[in-house]
């Protein structure tokens, strides 16, 4: 039995896809608004834009550029829920393993029609070992049949679970039941790719003179380290509703320099330098924003035998350490940018996720500290048997501050000495992955708005499981979540188990803290992933 997309979404408990599913989304300019005469949005990016090839995109800033040049089946709407992109609608079978998308009449920037075959080509390309994409694993992560085997070279790309029924119909087969598959479609890896151009131009296909896209904008200039300029694409299917004529992505490495240039009116949006949020909010309340961001900052505990600190093998010690971290002091006293204390790994604003009752979260800090002292005593550590722990983090003022403050808290409350060692980022990655550390800084940002994007990291088989954490119950719950009617039940159970085992100590949930010119409207403040689309923005006259 095939269900209509809207119905299927409504049935998928907790996933409120229904409301936005029928209407498309674009810049919605209220009646009576006076638009600015110059519709150019200047957005500061931290670093170079790494690539403009959707199947090779890795980072957030690059994704923002690629989202303006290409469009997937579904986009991320104002609140982060999926809204139709190239797809008009979809149907899904009863056990949510086969999705059939109906494509609209969309065009590439060269006028060719966007077909189901363009998606088949792109997705096959993403997993093709020859493409060698870092995000090849994403296709398997979201469940497309045979993706992992193709990446591993065990099967040909043609075995991928995606096929074009006709030019306007795309059928995707998943290896597990997934009520959240549509939420993953706004990821650049799953955008379509122009086969003819790629085959004709090879690696040069993304150069401004060659590139063909299906997004609301086309590439005008790409000068790495300086700027990427995109201009309105008249062939975009919803071009009539696009307001911004041009977007400039300006690389400004230094946050303070970004702020100065924002003050000078050279950029419309820039991140707030660490520690300056309270002062800027007081000075410019209408331009200073702090919105939740889809990332968790945490300490990884090495649970394996590769580290020799016996104390960390004791769950009481781990729990005591985690309890003694006063997260309110860290977010309000150290970071001061609207971050929120974390007692779970999954971000609380994850779609459909119901935060379970984690005892530490509802205790007062005094109670937590009392319990921590008691646990340490039970574990046999105290003033007469002091504990020493080594902590590693990648060189950065902000990480150092957090580490220093936590070390201070542990010293005062538990008599624990925390030895800090900073290292270059690449070295930290290697050390963490080799599991030759005791305690390490870690962070994770969700790839799609569903709890498994965080919790799959706690699976003992996960590549990202830097802790070497292995709990059979957690593995079983995660496996069960894939066929569950409401996986959020299993997710909650995983969080509860992890809070008991303490393989990680969640510290805080990130916030995106930025300055935005008053003339810019349409920003998706309520999208926890902060997936913004230039086509949804407009500038008003000041």
């Amino acid at each position: 039995m095939k269900l209509n997309g809207v119905l299927a979404a409504a049935l998928a408990a907790g996933l409120l896809l229904g409301t936005a599913m029928t209407a498309s989304f674009a810049a919605e300019v209220p009646e009576g608004t006076t638009l600015a005469s110059e519709q150019i949005f200047k957005y500061r990016v931290l670093d170079n834009i790494n690539t403009l090839d959707p199947q090779l995109v890795e980072d957030v800033d690059t994704s923002a550029v690629v989202r303006s040049l290409f469009e997937g089946l579904y986009n991320s709407g104002q609140g982060g829920d999926p809204v139709p992109g190239v797809a008009e609608s979809y149907e899904v079978n009863a056990d949510k393993t086969v999705y059939t998308f109906k494509l609209r009449d969309a065009k590439w920037s060269n006028g060719d029609p966007v077909t189901a075959g363009d998606f088949v080509y792109a997705w096959q390309r993403a997993v093709d070992p020859k493409t060698a994409s870092n995000y090849a694993y994403f296709v398997g992560l979201v469940g497309v049949v045979n993706a992992d085997d193709i990446v591993a070279g065990k099967k040909p790309v043609t075995d991928l679970g995606v096929k074009a029924i006709d030019d306007k119909t795309l059928e995707v087969t998943l290896s597990f039941s997934s009520p959240w598959f549509v939420r993953t479609l706004s990821h650049a890896t799953l955008f379509p790719a122009p086969k003819a151009v790629i085959e004709a131009k090879g690696v040069d296909w993304t150069k401004p003179e060659n590139i063909v896209g299906n997004g609301a904008y086309t590439l005008a200039e790409n000068t790495p380290g300086e700027r990427v300029v995109v201009k309105r694409n008249p062939n975009y299917w919803d071009n009539a509703k696009t307001v911004l004529e041009e977007v400039q992505f300006l690389t400004i490495n230094d946050e303070n320099q970004g702020l100065t240039r924002w003050r000078a009116g050279e950029v419309d949006q820039t991140d707030v330098p660490a520690g300056q949020y309270p002062a800027l909010k007081a000075e410019l309340p209408d331009n200073t924003y702090s919105v939740p961001n889809f990332c968790t900052y945490y300490f990884s505990v090495n649970m394996t035998d590769k580290q020799t600190n016996a104390a960390l093998k004791d769950v009481k010690v781990r729990e005591a350490l985690s309890l003694a971290i006063d997260r309110d002091v860290i977010v309000n006293g150290v970071l001061q940018g609207g971050q929120t204390p974390a007692y779970s790994f999954t971000h609380p604003l994850t779609a459909g996720f119901k935060m379970p009752d984690i005892p530490a979260a509802s205790m007062t800090q005094a109670d937590r500290d009392a319990k921590a002292v008691q646990l340490m005593a039970e574990a046999g550590y105290g003033k007469d048997k002091p504990l020493e722990i080594n902590y590693i983090y990648n060189t950065s003022e902000a990480h150092k501050k957090v580490a220093t403050v936590v070390g201070q808290m542990w010293k005062e409350k538990l008599g624990v000495t925390l030895n800090l060692a900073d290292m270059e980022f690449q070295t930290l990655l290697d050390t963490r992955h080799a599991k030759t550390y005791e305690l390490a800084r870690n962070a994770w940002c969700g790839d799609y708005n569903e709890a498994s994007t965080f919790l799959s990291l706690l699976d003992s088989k996960s590549e990202q499981n830097d802790q070497g954490y292995a709990n059979a119950d957690v593995d079983a719950l995660l496996a069960a979540s894939k066929t569950s009617a409401d996986p959020n039940v299993e997710y909650a159970a995983v969080e509860v188990q992890a809070s008991k085992d303490v393989p990680i100590m969640p510290i805080y949930f990130y916030a995106k803290v930025f300055m935005q010119s008053a003339s810019v409207k349409g920003w998706p403040f309520t999208d926890v992933e902060q997936n913004w689309y230039a086509k949804d923005l407009y500038k008003v006259a000041e």
Binding site: D47, N50, P224, G225, E266, E463
Partner: protein, 307 residues
């Protein structure tokens, strides 16, 4: 002279090869790899990426193939981090930018520095001397990572005369601030070297002789004193020129010029092996060339030196 130049060029080739080999080894010894990020890439994916870039081959073979491609095809290979660009692309885009502001800064620092140094020496302990010495000490103690933001604060935010960054295809307004920020501390050094060298020469016996035989002051300075006094400055200028035209990380980062200095540092942090090697070779070649030019200039300035 020609034989000297040819001999130096012949020595340059093994020098560059040694440079490549040492850089290659250091790079491979450093932990990490160009494809690592906060998100660990699954083994199968990493294997594909390594195969794509030939990193699955033995290291000696990678090195030999690299040298072969550079020497016979002038191909520095693909960038590992900027996946749709080659190292040749990165150099072709970034080097002209840094060369432009670097050359202007070099010209600015040299002309002003030499003039100020000469003027200060001629009027030792006069107001111009005090001014020059004061300015040069001031400029030298302000590093360019302080200079750059101050310039932006004054000229971009307060006066609104010049943009605080960007390159815009090399528009003059985008060049001014990077040139000043980069040139200042060099200008200070040049002024001080020129001044002390000039003072020394002016105090020597043959200058006294020249003055005694009644030559006009300007002729003493320009015909007899300036050339020998330039020697220490010229030997200083060689490496300075290379340093300037290959870009300053600080300038590139602050002014978002898209120059090669930023690309160089990023490549090291990202372990973008091919880009590190490509830019190292470029820098090495430029350094060798600049030293050669300095030696030739030396012979031209100082008749005592025979090449």
């Amino acid at each position: 002279m020609i034989a000297f130049i040819l001999k130096r060029l012949a020595v340059a080739i093994p020098t560059l090869l040694v440079l490549i080999v040492i850089s290659f080894i250091l790079m491979k010894v450093a932990p990490g790899n160009p494809f690592a990020g906060e998100k660990t890439v699954p083994k199968a994916v990493l294997d594909n990426i390594f195969a794509r870039y030939g990193l699955d081959k033995p290291e000696w073979q990678q090195l030999l193939e690299y040298i072969y491609n550079v020497v016979f095809h002038f191909d520095f290979g693909p960038s590992f981090k900027y996946r749709d660009r080659t190292v040749n692309d990165i150099i072709a885009q970034g080097f002209p930018v840094t060369f432009t502001y670097g050359a202007w800064a070099f010209l600015f620092a040299t002309v002003i520095g030499v003039s100020l140094g000469v003027a200060a020496a001629l009027r030792q302990n006069g107001w111009i001397d005090h001014l020059a010495v004061g300015l040069s000490i001031g400029a030298q103690v302000v590093p360019n990572f302080v200079m750059a933001p101050v310039l932006v604060l004054v000229f971009t935010l307060w006066l609104r005369w010049l943009p605080g960054g960007g390159w815009d295809g090399g528009h003059w307004s985008n060049i001014v601030l990077p040139v000043i920020a980069l040139a200042t501390s060099y200008l200070a050094s040049i002024t001080r070297i020129m001044r002390s060298s000039m003072l020394e020469v002016l105090g020597s016996n043959y200058i006294r002789t020249a003055r005694a035989k009644g030559l006009p002051g300007w002729q003493v300075v320009f015909r007899h004193a300036l050339r020998p006094a330039m020697l220490p400055v010229v030997s200083y200028l060689g490496p300075v020129f290379v340093g300037m035209v290959t870009g300053s990380v600080v300038i590139d980062l602050y002014f978002s010029t898209g120059g090669i200095g930023q690309a160089f540092v990023n490549s090291a942090l990202n372990r973008d092996y091919s880009t590190i090697l490509g830019i190292t070779i470029l820098l090495g070649a430029l350094t060798i060339a600049a030293n050669l030019v300095v030696d030739v200039l030396y012979a031209w300035i100082d008749p005592k030196i025979k090449l």
